[in-house]
């Protein structure tokens, strides 16, 4: 197919993601029961937790890509790191918004400077900073090197954010599903797991497409550079014939 970044594999992945998202909406908003304590607000769990976990995974991919880029100067890993951070930023934004709305029901406020919330906000600022570095008007290799160094910061920040509820006393709930015996209803647990799978599929689909878009951006940049060089050469040659040497 011309003019798109799709291929047979991504179309299958996209169809699976769409079907999964429809099933997730059905389970999250209709079939799963309300919670004894939190009532209907528990339905935000099925978007809040999966987006958070997939965003954290996306940042680890960015860290891995940054390390490999700094080591091997591989364009493939550079673009993977960039694409993964873009998706992670959107998913972390979704985590923050869903968390704020859920917090309004659970705690009575949209925001409080709790350790988990603060570290998540800090992580969001870091990833926006990383994406800002990616837009700096400078030579591509220098920009990629700088972005890779900034990208490394996402690793420790993500770890601190993840363990914030364990290391500090927080309003935010601690780990529930990572326990060996999770205290959660069967259908709720199934819906949550479905959410993890669907958002992981979405991440994979978006990663491939964003990678290809960024790859095309690099090629257009190269073509523009080639054209500019050719123009300069042509100007220099013309100048050579027009201006006689002394």
């Amino acid at each position: 197919m011309t003019g798109t970044t799709s291929s047979r594999g991504t179309r299958v992945l996209g169809a699976l993601t769409l079907a999964g998202m429809a099933a997730l909406l059905l389970f999250a908003l209709v079939l799963s029961p309300q919670d004894e304590v939190q009532g209907e607000a528990v339905r935000m769990l099925y978007v809040h937790v999966p987006t958070a976990i997939v965003a954290f995974t996306a940042f680890f991919v960015t860290v891995a890509g940054s390390i490999v880029y700094l080591w091997k100067r591989s364009e493939w890993w550079d673009i993977t790191a960039h694409a993964s951070a873009e998706i992670g930023a959107v998913l972390l934004g979704a985590t923050l918004v869903s968390g704020m709305l859920w917090g309004r029901v659970s705690w009575g406020v949209y925001w409080t400077w709790d350790a988990r919330l603060t570290t998540t906000a800090l992580l969001f600022v870091f990833v926006l900073g990383y994406l800002a570095v990616r837009r700096l008007p400078m030579e591509r290799d220098r920009r990629s090197r700088l972005a890779a160094v900034v990208g490394l910061l996402l690793g420790p920040t993500t770890i601190v954010c993840h363990y914030a509820t364990t290391w500090w006393r927080t309003l935010h709930q601690g780990p529930t599903i990572t326990r060996l015996n999770p205290e959660i209803d069967g259908l709720m647990l199934f819906t949550l797991m479905l959410g993890m799978v669907v958002f992981a599929l979405l991440y994979a689909w978006l990663l491939i497409h964003r990678f290809r878009v960024l790859w095309l951006e690099h090629r257009v940049e190269d073509l523009g550079l080639d054209a500019a060089l050719a123009e300069r050469r042509s100007e220099a040659e013309d100048g050579g014939t027009l201006v006689p040497s002394p």
Partner: protein, 47 residues
Amino acid sequence: MSTGFQWQLVLLCWGLVLVAIAVLVVRSVQRARRLSRQVPEEQRRWM
């Protein structure tokens, strides 16, 4: 907290997340189309 208010927040939450994802998807598709016109086909091997 009333059930109606909880449902409002639940639907707002899901709606915002789905809209954010849709915007990312649509913008990616539009950008891919625009860039593909400028890049020779041999450099777009996934097609």
